[in-house]
């Protein structure tokens, strides 16, 4: 057998076996990983919505949103928004008032930003008293006309938040995702 044929056979066999092993493994781990993601998502929905409400999920145009009602009246909508951060996809659960004018709460579902910098959007270990200060700034934040951010200063307007020092791009990405996708959600839910 000449050498070229040997190279082709060995590499082909290796990659085929590798692919097969991974495919089998994936069929075992995928349901578990998905179950965990769902669990995170449900926990996030429960966390962002107000207490003691009836939650109903609706699917419309491939978009799932959760309606919270209290005594027959809609008190909040919750839905998932996502987009590119600094180096990973940011997935955030957001809850807004029924007229889409104010954010009630937010929660980061998944992010793989730079450890120690971008990850502060979810948990800032350098702020001992309030590690979730960044996302908590969105509580009660007005959405219109647009949400903006400031650097190294306290927010002065009711549509403004403070960006994380060293993670401006991750901070700006969250603001941008919220600005764009809350409007999209409003259009879909409002129909």
């Amino acid at each position: 057998m000449n050498n070229t044929a040997k190279i082709i056979i060995v590499l082909t066999l290796l990659t085929v076996i590798s692919g097969a092993v991974l495919a089998v493994l994936d069929s075992y781990t995928k349901p578990r990983i998905e179950a965990y993601q769902n669990q995170l998502k449900n926990a996030a929905v429960a966390e962002v919505l107000p207490q003691n409400v009836k939650v109903e999920s609706t699917e419309k145009e491939d978009f799932t949103y959760y309606t919270a009602t209290k005594a027959g009246e809609v008190v909040a909508y919750a839905f998932q928004v996502s987009g590119g951060g600094y180096q990973s996809e940011l997935v955030v659960m957001v809850c807004v008032t029924p007229d889409f004018s104010e954010i009630i709460a937010t929660k980061v579902i998944s992010q793989v930003e730079t450890p120690g910098l971008g990850t502060k959007i979810e948990n800032d270990p350098t702020n001992k008293e309030h590690p979730t200060w960044f996302m908590d700034q969105f509580k009660g934040l007005k959405i219109n006309p647009t949400i903006t951010y400031v650097k190294n200063a306290k927010p002065s307007k009711d549509t403004e938040i403070q960006a994380i020092t060293g993670a401006t791009i991750s901070s700006a990405a969250i603001v941008d995702i919220l600005n764009k996708q809350i409007k999209t959600a409003k259009a879909i839910i409002g129909e």
């Binding site: 190279i7 060995v10 092993v21 781990t29 965990y36 990973s88 450890p115 350098t126």
Partner: protein
């Protein structure tokens, strides 16, 4: 060179040829994930798993893999085991998987693992390769555990999440950041060299 005994083959990775402190290999995960002892240990064990499995296969097929494509073949083997480790962690210990983030998939480019295939497993029998991989893996895990323990204790006042420093201890924030990793690693390497120099003298 004198043939090493089986025990020497295993023990050399822990100190004399320690992958991090002596060979300075695999420094990217060493510096990046060692902000907490839990992460350091998980990274060490994941890398050890990949190293053991890859060394086993590379050594077993060392006579069948043509020389020109050996690196490509090693990478496929290593990548397969890294993916197995990554999916496994994501499915069974999602919290650790989350905090290690992209560094588990990045084990693929860990020079320690590729280095052992090229320098050892491709030239030695299965038994010796497994001993070598075990020793290197233990050395890597041990170093990461020491490094991450120092950083977590000084940087956060905790060890494996438990508070162990006294109440009024002011955490050295820098230790849980990137500079803390470089400073601690530098001190460890200096310490290892100092001890080795004294042993030789």
């Amino acid at each position: 060179m004198k043939e090493k005994t089986a025990i020497q083959e295993l023990v050399k990775g822990i100190w004399d040829e320690n992958p991090v402190l002596v060979q300075l290999l695999g420094l990217c995960p060493t510096l990046a994930v060692t902000s907490s002892a839990e992460n350091g240990l998980a990274m060490g064990l994941a890398a050890t798993f990949v190293l053991l499995c890859s060394s086993f296969l590379v050594s077993m097929f060392r006579k069948m893999i043509p020389g020109q494509v050996r690196i490509a073949a090693y990478i496929v083997i290593i990548a397969t085991f890294v993916t197995i480790a990554d999916r496994f962690l994501a499915a069974f210990v999602p919290d650790i998987s989350k905090s290690l983030g992209p560094f588990i998939p990045l084990i693929i480019v860990n020079c320690m693992i590729l280095g052992r295939q090229e320098a050892f497993a491709s030239k030695n029998g299965i038994g010796r390769s497994l001993l070598d991989a075990m020793g290197m893996g233990l050395g890597f895990t041990f170093t990461l555990l020491v490094l991450s323990s120092i950083r977590e204790i000084l940087g956060a006042g905790t060890w494996f999440g438990m508070r162990i420093m006294w109440e009024s201890f002011a955490e050295w924030g820098v230790m849980s950041q990137a500079p803390g990793a470089f400073i601690t690693l530098g001190c460890l390497i200096a310490g290892a060299n100092w001890i080795n120099a004294r042993r030789k003298a």
